[in-house]
């Protein structure tokens, strides 16, 4: 409260030669996917007419001068022919984007005495202005509304298009406005805008979304995907082009459990910050399939100012890397940490941002550059090429992949056959398996996240232990591969509803695991 007292709306400063008026408005700038508070201080005083914006503005903020000038004049306000200085505090924070227009205009109106608005500093404002004074939608309204609440604002005024999105944030008044002209009546208290209806959080994909029933035949691929979904394991599919790898990958979100509402809010926050929220939220878990030419910063986030990458966009969903071997090595290397930690830290000059990226990795690759596979006599790839190509499969990222499944070209009989088991049935089993994991490991955690200590504490029967020990001795398994096999076996046991890992589950895990050596 004390902080708000310091922010008196207008303050007249009387010096013997200068009469200056200072106004303060409160706004936010987007930084990664989080919003940071910005104070807009406007000082209008006599002098050579001018309009300066200081406080690390980017090009879009600097151009606000022209938009604000035109919008004010076109809405019947007067643009003061005085010396105007806009300071954006804190001065050390880089301000980006056009969302500051509205706050600059409001503070300018207040400072020039055209608007008597006592409550101005208690209302947060964001919005881009058109030249005719109407408002345009901004990115990240949800994050901004939440940040405004944290910052102690009583209300947030923003473009009507963003209203429904901002209304997802609770405990703050949302004032949708459609133009600069509305500020007059708002300041006078003559107009009581209705709080917009919040966007419904869609925990699940809409009906008609891709369904696993489209995958006909291919029982092992289905099994591998089910295990992957049940334990949150990353999976690699290897097979010739056209065998159904992409089709299978796009069906993975449909067999994952529906989002919890807290998770849905996280997904909405990311989508909002990237401007990907349309009239409704994207339903269910995100599915991202970046092209293999993507750069490292495109994949994990980066740039200046740092923005989220595909890994963050896939938060709580599926990141599908088709043609894994064609991806740039540095891009895949960059994905390694985020895959383990569930968040990506981007350090740039000035600041370090942490973005969430808890996704399930689904990857696909051809067996060799020509795609036919070396077993096919028509394969024309030179041995060196094949070796180099497959060498990329054994890089650091591949080390994080739990499941390998060889995908085979389905036979005409399979393609023309009956549809496979629908997603809903598979998902029911996945949900049951996840519940069992949550009971054992704690809420929200799955087998893929088990620490080595937890993995080794899995209960096995003697036959299963003997099977694992046999393989361990015979194939000189690494400790990591040993734990990976245990995690997989635990997931298969969870799917089967078994109390401990039996021989059958262990054998399946041994087959599904990705092999280390090439």
């Amino acid at each position: 409260m004390q902080r708000n007292d310091l922010l008196r709306p207008t303050r007249e400063i009387h010096l013997h030669s200068v009469v200056a008026v200072l106004a303060i408005a409160r706004t936010f700038t987007l930084d990664g996917i989080a919003a940071r508070p910005v104070r807009v201080e406007v000082d209008v005083h006599r002098g050579l007419p001018g309009f300066a914006i200081v406080g690390l503005p980017d090009a879009a903020v600097r151009e606000a001068r022209e938009r604000v000038r035109a919008a004010l004049v076109n809405c019947g306000f007067e643009f003061p022919l005085q010396r105007i200085v806009v300071n954006l505090a804190p001065a050390s924070l880089r301000k980006a984007g056009p969302g500051l227009d509205l706050a600059i205009a409001a503070a300018l109106l207040s400072a020039s005495g055209q608007l008597e608005w006592e409550a101005l500093p208690r209302v947060a404002m964001v919005g881009e202005l058109a030249l005719d004074g109407s408002t345009r939608a901004v990115h990240g309204a949800l994050a901004i509304a939440e940040a405004a609440r944290e910052d102690g604002a009583e209300a947030i005024a923003l473009p009507a298009e963003n209203g429904a999105e901002a209304a997802l944030a609770e405990d703050i008044d949302v004032i949708p406005i459609d133009g600069l002209g509305r500020l007059r009546s708002l300041a006078a208290g003559e107009w009581e805008p209705r709080r917009p209806e919040a966007l419904p959080l869609l925990l699940d994909a809409a009906a008609g979304a891709p369904d696993l029933a489209d995958l006909r035949g291919q029982p092992h691929l289905r099994h591998a995907l089910e295990v992957a979904a049940a334990g949150g394991h990353s999976v690699l599919m290897v097979g010739p082009p056209g065998a159904g790898k992409s089709l299978a990958a796009s069906r993975v979100p449909s067999i994952l459990p529906p989002l919890a509402s807290a998770e849905a809010l996280e997904v909405a926050r990311v989508a909002s910050a990237c401007g990907r929220l349309g009239p409704s939220l994207p339903g269910g878990r995100p599915f991202r399939a970046p092209h293999h030419t993507i750069s490292a910063s495109g994949l994990v986030g980066g740039g200046s100012p740092p923005g989220p990458g595909e890994a963050t966009l896939a938060h709580r969903g599926v990141l599908f890397l088709d043609e894994l071997c064609e991806f740039r090595r540095d891009a895949l290397e960059a994905l390694r940490g985020p895959l383990e930690g569930g968040e990506v830290a981007i350090a740039r000059a000035g600041a370090r941002r942490v973005l969430p990226c808890r996704f399930m990795l689904v990857a696909a690759a051809n067996p060799c550059p020509c795609g036919r596979g070396e077993a096919d006599p028509d394969c024309t790839c030179a041995p060196v090429e094949v070796q180099r190509y497959q060498g990329r499969l054994s890089g650091a990222l591949a080390d994080r992949i739990d499941i390998l499944t060889a995908v085979r070209q389905p036979s005409p009989a399979e393609i023309g056959g009956a549809p496979g088991e629908p997603s809903a049935d598979v998902r029911a089993r996945v949900i049951a398996a996840r519940e069992r994991q949550a009971q054992r490991l704690g809420p929200g955690r799955c087998n893929a996240e088990m620490t080595p200590a937890e993995a080794r504490a899995c209960s096995l029967n003697t036959a299963a232990a003997a099977l694992l020990a046999d393989l361990y001795a015979r194939q000189r398994l690494s400790g990591r591969a040993h734990d990976r096999t245990l995690r997989l076996a635990q997931t298969i046991a969870d799917l089967a509803g078994a109390e401990s890992i039996g021989e059958e589950e262990m054998a399946q895990a041994l087959q599904l695991r990705r092999r280390d050596r090439g």
């Binding site: 029982p219 289905r222 596979g373 006599p377 041995p383 499969l393 393989l471 399946q508 087959q511």
Partner: protein, 375 residues
Amino acid sequence: MASVPRACPDCLRRSRLLAHLGPYVERVASGAPGSRSPELLRLCNEDLLAVAAPKVAGQLLARVEALDEAELGEELAAAGCWACCPHGALYPAALGDAADAPWALIGRGDHRLLAELEPAVGVTVVGARRATSYGREIARELGRDLARAGVIVVSGLAFGIDACAHRGALEVGTTVAVLGCGPDTAYPAAHRSLWRQVCEKGLILSELPPGAPPWRWTFPARNRIMAALTGMTVVVEAAARSGSLITADLAADLGRDLGAVPGPVTSRASAGPNNLLAGGACVVRDAQDVLDALLGAGARRLDRTGPALDLALLDALAAVEAGAVTADGVATALTLSGGEAAAALARLELLGYVTCSPLGVYTRTSMASLEQGDV
């Protein structure tokens, strides 16, 4: 420990000369790819120079003659190599069968192995660099089983079949690699770690001095050494016109046994061995066939029968034999669930009936199942 073998200076000068002649012979031999270089190597120094490099013959000869014995010895020692020649000890007598035998043989690794390398206990395994997973699996098995039976496996360290034969043999014992470049050079470079393993556990041989780069003509030339060193040459997989068939021809010319691993008649990769079989080569299905041909039928028996299988595993094994190479294929062929097929394959792999590539492709090994034998 026996003292390090030594070669006479004339023979060492010859190997130096060959290294100097690399690009010249390349030009002469390029007209008739491959097979001509062993014929050229039959010639004595002066004739060889006259054919390959008449313009610089005197110059090269003088350069080589100028090398003194100490200098040549130091060069070898610096590269960690040694040499032997027909005029000294340890030179494999079998090489003497060929008119174009190498003068000096430069080696790296355990030279005691050279003394053991009799044609009766050596087998050369060659094949395509572009091999299928079937060919690779067979080569590896041949290498392993032959080494286990005490046979020395000789090959050329190339991609594909050669490397698999070496790796298989190294799993249980030793192996000999004959190179088309200096013995201190790992070629292809991707096989550096394999080269190092062979150096440590086996033996590397070449007729070229340390530091000599490979030329196209040096590969047929090393093939003649491989063919002559052992009593039998086995071709695992080779296209219809492959360098491996040069080795086979050279072996046949020397009166060595020739074996070939049969493959599908539609497979391009098996065209070479299938043609050899049609021409009367010995059928090689597993290491036992090689032992029978080399030592006489029944002289040494290999036990390749695996542990007993239950019915479900027998079905899965039959599916792999019938051409299902992925878990998905097995599941579809037997209308099993994905999980059942996975478990069956994992068990078969652990028992040694099948192997799985890093890309999830299954290959049948030559391990026989009991029930099959009984039927």
